[in-house]
């Protein structure tokens, strides 16, 4: 059996045993020495929908950066899709990141390009053939409800529509995990709910969804798993949980 296939099997086995995201006693300290994340243990199974909540400085952003391998843990091990991120070589990071879709609060769209090109960009970057791009982009734009606006420049769209473009871009490469960092932070309640409904649909189709948010109303209404962080540690992890207010 080829090494590549063996490695794939080992990863699959690891995911079955430990989940698609597995943090084993993970700490991350910056130069000042105060840990942004302190001895965290977390397991997220394939197909789960998880909210990560907590105040500013609770370590949510550091956690997302660790999962994206923008940062490496100071102590402990971070495993994503069966990859031990501590031993991942620099040249292996791009391929690893193709397993992840990322959405940000500020959308991060390319303002000089239209909707279609913004989404197609994610496919071009991973060197998808043009014929496939022409097939995949309209399909994913239809999924997020923007099929009719593919020619529009992103600055002609509402905030909700821009976030849907960002979502389409994150999903077009069919990632196993979608990380959404405050996806509703810049949106009004109506658009926020539309985005959350889309994330739920995406999750129902099998993608693991991790949402970092401050939106208490949404967290409480959706009845999903809620991981609450405070000062770098996980203070609560509830199935069908609620947003715990800070005292």
């Amino acid at each position: 059996m080829a090494n590549k296939e063996l490695l794939q099997m080992q990863r699959q086995q690891f995911i079955e045993e430990n989940g698609v995201i597995f943090l084993d006693n993970v700490s991350k300290s910056y130069s000042k020495g105060v840990p942004a994340i302190d001895r965290i243990n977390l397991r997220i199974n394939p197909g789960e929908f998880v909210f990560i909540v907590g105040d500013s400085g609770s370590g949510k952003s550091t956690l997302i950066k660790l999962l994206l391998r923008e940062l490496t843990a100071t102590k402990g091990n971070v495993y994503v899709m069966g990859n031990d991120l501590a031993v991942l070589k620099h040249r292996q990071i791009p391929r690893f990141r193709r397993n992840l879709g990322v959405v940000f609060q500020d959308f991060r769209l390319l303002s000089d390009r239209n909707v279609y090109d913004n989404v197609a960009f994610a496919q071009r970057v991973v060197q998808t053939p043009n014929s496939e791009i022409r097939r995949n982009v309209p399909a994913i734009l239809a999924t997020v409800g923007l099929a009719g606006k593919y020619k529009a420049k992103t600055n002609q769209l509402s905030g909700g529509e821009q976030q849907r473009v960002a979502l389409a871009r994150a999903l077009v490469n069919k990632p196993s995990i979608l990380l959404a960092d405050e996806p509703t932070g810049n949106l009004d309640p109506k658009n926020s709910w539309e985005i959350m409904r889309l994330l739920e649909e995406i999750n129902e189709q099998g993608t693991t969804v991790v949402v970092v948010t401050h939106n208490k109303e949404i967290v409480n209404s959706m009845q999903k798993r809620v991981v609450t962080m405070k000062k770098g540690i996980i203070v609560s992890d509830q199935e069908e949980g609620e947003y715990i207010d800070e005292d």
């Binding site: 040249r91 990071i93 391929r95 990322v102 960009f121 071009r124 970057v125 991973v126 060197q127």
Partner: protein, 298 residues
């Protein structure tokens, strides 16, 4: 690399240049200026070297023989010298031939006072060299040959010519080195500006899994294109300028042009074109690589 990726990279390379057009123009202008100076310098140096080489060709050393050496032995020695690498050609001049030439050139046939050849025993070999710098070594070798009495060298001429040649080499090397370093610095600045303009896009590329090569290659291509255009422009200028100056010199200073033999524009451009283009593309490549390696560790 897939064809679609290659086309994308090329397109982005051009897009970068146009998006960042003022900096690109500034870089092209600077490289053009540097390579214009380089080209002008090259043309002048090549012509000077050509003149020096022509002068060197006239420098020779004379070999004189011990009295009583047979003509056969002299010719044998001539062949020995002629076989050496540093020797361009040799000329055997017998005493009779020498007297005949001397009396013709300087005495205009008035040789009554000389019933016999006064140059008897003054048979010589004139040795012309490929490299005048090796004159001393060759002279020492020839003097070590049996039956050679002594060698007349032209040390001052040899030293001066090789000194001038060496000085031209050092000065041109120094100036060209400085110009190239300035060009590399400017290109890397232009690419750094391009990278900062496109930082958002690069950031997104990073998140969706672009490889280092994919992110970097349009910037490297941009640098190489700037270098290529920056090299092509001065080549055009120098071509027309060189032709104009050459025809001006030939027309206005006919005397000078008969003394100094200038190289034709084709001879200059035979080497200048590939060298300039390669240097332009090369500094574009080095300047952009320097910047992308520093700023684009994705």
């Amino acid at each position: 690399m897939k064809i679609s990726t290659l086309l994308y990279t090329i397109k982005q390379g051009f897009v970068n240049i146009f998006r960042n057009k003022w900096y690109s123009l500034a870089s092209i202008a600077t490289i053009s200026a540097c390579l214009f100076l380089f080209g002008m310098f090259y043309a002048i140096v090549m012509n000077f070297q050509h003149v020096v080489e022509s002068a060197e060709e006239g420098v020779c050393i004379s070999v004189l023989f011990v009295e009583g050496t047979t003509e056969e032995r002299m010719k044998e020695i001539n062949d020995m010298i002629d076989a050496r690498d540093e020797v361009a050609r040799t000329e055997f001049i017998s005493a009779d031939q020498a007297w005949e030439e001397f009396s013709r050139d300087y005495l205009q046939g008035y040789t009554e006072g000389f019933p016999e050849n006064p140059l008897v025993g003054m048979d010589t070999i004139e040795v012309y060299m490929t490299d005048v710098e090796k004159q001393e070594d060759l002279a020492v070798y020839i003097e070590s040959i049996t039956d050679v009495d002594h060698v007349n060298r032209s040390l001052v001429v040899a030293d001066t010519l090789s000194g001038v040649n060496l000085m031209i080499g050092y000065v041109s090397f120094g100036i060209i080195g400085i110009l190239l370093a300035v060009s590399i610095f400017l290109i890397s600045n232009t690419i750094a500006v391009g990278i900062s303009i496109r930082s958002e896009e690069i950031n997104i590329m990073k998140y969706v899994g672009a490889t280092d090569f994919f992110v970097r290659s349009p910037f490297v291509l941009e640098g190489m294109l700037i270098g290529l255009v920056g090299a092509a422009i001065p080549l055009g200028f120098i071509y027309s300028l060189y032709n104009t100056v050459l025809s001006y010199l030939v027309e206005r200073f006919a005397m000078l042009s008969s003394l100094l033999n200038f190289l034709s524009v084709e001879e200059i451009f035979k080497n200048l074109t590939p060298v300039s283009l390669a240097v332009g593309v090369g500094i574009g490549f080095l300047g952009s690589m320097k910047t992308v390696r520093k700023h684009l560790r994705v």
